[in-house]
Amino acid sequence: MKSQNSRICIVILINLLLTSLIALINSRLSVWGVFLYLPGLFIILSSNILDVKNGIVASIITGIHLDTLLHTPLGFHAILLAFIFLLVREWQENHRVFKTWRPIFLQIIVNIIFFLFGIFGY
C-alpha cells in the first residue's frame, strides 16, 4: 500500500514535470508554427506501474493539469485519459508478452484518438 502511494506521487510528479517541459518546448516551437500535442506520453508509465485505482487518480490529476494548460473544457483530458488508461491496462493484461514496439504504437494510437477528439470537439 505504502509502495503504491509513493508510486502514484512519483507518477503524478513526473507527469506534471513532463507537461511543463512540453509546454516550454511548445513555447519555443511556436515560431515555426509547430505544436506538440502528446497526451499518449502520460498513459504508458501509469499503466505499467500503477494499479487501476491509483492509475485513474493519476490520470485525472494529470488530465486536469492538461485541461488548465490547454484551455480545454475542464474534465475533457481528465476523463478521456482515465478511460484510455483503463483500456490500455486491460489490453496489457490480455497481451502480457513484452514487445519493444508496443509502447510506441500505443502512444501513437492514444495521441491520434485525442487529436480526433480535439478536431471533432472544437
Binding site: 511556436s30 490547454l70 476523463i79
Partner: protein
C-alpha cells in the same frame, strides 16, 4: 468464474462512468475554482522558467569575448553621439509638444461643446511573456503580471506591431492572453481610410506558422488594390483598444453567403509567435 472475472474488468469502467456523470453535474463554480487553483499552481513554473531564460541571457553576455565588447563599445559611442544630436533636437520637439497640447485642448473643448465623449485614455503596463501556447486550435500566452498589478479580464494587449489580444484570465501574479488568432477572439475594427465598422475574428495559425484571421461584414464598395493590401485597424467602439492600432492586412475580399457584405482573410504579422514583451492597456 468467467462471469466474476468479467465483473472485475467492467467495474472500473462503471466507476469512471459514474465519475464522469458526477463531474458533468458539478456546479461550474467548483470547476472554476479547481481550474483557478491549477492555474495558480502552474504560474510559478512559467515564471521561474522565464526568469531562468532572462538570467541565462545575462550570463551569456557576461562571457562575451573582447572582440564583441569592442564592437559593443563602438555601437555605444555611436549611440552617445546620436543622443547628443537628439538633445539638440529636443528643443524643436518641446515646441511641437506645446503645439499638440494646445490642439488637444481645443479638441477637448470642441468635444464638450458638441457633447461628444472624448476618446478613452489608457494606462500602459509592460509585462514579460512567460509561456506561449500556440496550437492549431487555440492560442494563448501567459504573462508575469496579474491582478496585483491592477490587471482585469478584458484588458487589451498590444505589442510593437499592433494588437496581440486581450486578457481572459487574471490570477494574482500571472495572467493569460487570448491571442487575436484564437477563433474566440472577435472585435470591432475599421479599414485604414474608412470609418465604417467591420468585424475581425481570429482563425488560427497555419502549419508554417503564419497567423491569420477573418474580416466579416465588409461593405461591398471596399476593394483592395493589387499589391496594395488594406490595413485593418482597431476601433475605439469596443472599449478595450484605442482607435488605429494595426491588426493585419487584407489582400483579397470575397462575397459573403448573405450577399450583403464581403469577407476576407486577414494576414497577421508572424512576429506574434515570438513576442517576449507586451503592453497591457488599462482603461483610465
Amino acid at each position: 468464474m468467467a462471469k466474476k472475472s468479467n465483473n472485475r474488468k467492467v467495474k472500473p469502467f462503471l466507476y469512471l462512468g459514474f465519475f464522469a456523470i458526477c463531474w458533468w453535474g458539478i456546479p461550474s463554480s467548483i470547476k472554476l475554482f479547481t481550474q483557478s487553483t491549477f492555474r495558480e499552481f502552474q504560474a510559478p513554473i512559467w515564471e521561474i522558467s522565464s526568469r531562468i531564460e532572462d538570467l541565462s541571457n545575462y550570463w551569456g553576455h557576461l562571457s562575451d569575448s573582447k572582440r564583441t565588447l569592442i564592437t559593443k563599445g563602438k555601437e555605444f559611442k555611436r549611440l552617445t553621439s546620436d543622443l547628443e544630436l537628439q538633445k539638440i533636437r529636443s528643443k524643436e520637439i518641446v515646441t511641437e509638444i506645446n503645439r499638440l497640447q494646445n490642439l488637444h485642448q481645443s479638441i477637448s473643448r470642441l468635444n464638450k461643446l458638441l457633447n461628444i465623449n472624448s476618446s478613452q485614455n489608457f494606462e500602459s503596463v509592460i509585462a514579460r511573456v512567460s509561456v506561449r501556447k500556440m496550437s492549431g486550435w487555440w492560442q494563448q500566452m501567459t504573462i508575469r503580471k496579474g491582478y496585483n498589478n491592477r490587471l482585469q479580464i478584458g484588458n487589451g494587449v498590444i505589442y510593437n506591431k499592433g494588437v496581440i489580444g486581450r486578457l481572459i484570465n487574471v490570477d494574482s501574479r500571472s495572467a493569460e492572453i487570448e491571442i487575436i488568432t484564437n477563433p474566440n477572439f472577435r472585435i470591432v475594427a475599421h479599414f485604414g481610410n474608412d470609418t465604417r465598422p467591420v468585424t475581425f475574428q481570429g482563425n488560427g495559425i497555419d502549419l508554417g506558422g503564419q497567423p491569420y484571421g477573418i474580416v466579416l461584414d465588409v461593405p461591398y464598395d471596399i476593394i483592395p488594390k493589387k499589391g496594395e493590401p488594406l490595413q485593418l485597424i482597431t476601433s475605439s467602439l469596443g472599449g478595450n483598444f484605442p482607435h488605429g492600432m494595426p491588426i493585419g492586412n487584407v489582400y483579397k475580399l470575397e462575397g459573403a453567403e448573405d450577399g450583403l457584405f464581403k469577407t476576407g482573410k486577414v494576414i497577421i504579422d508572424r512576429s506574434i509567435n515570438e513576442v517576449l514583451e507586451v503592453t497591457l492597456l488599462i482603461p483610465e
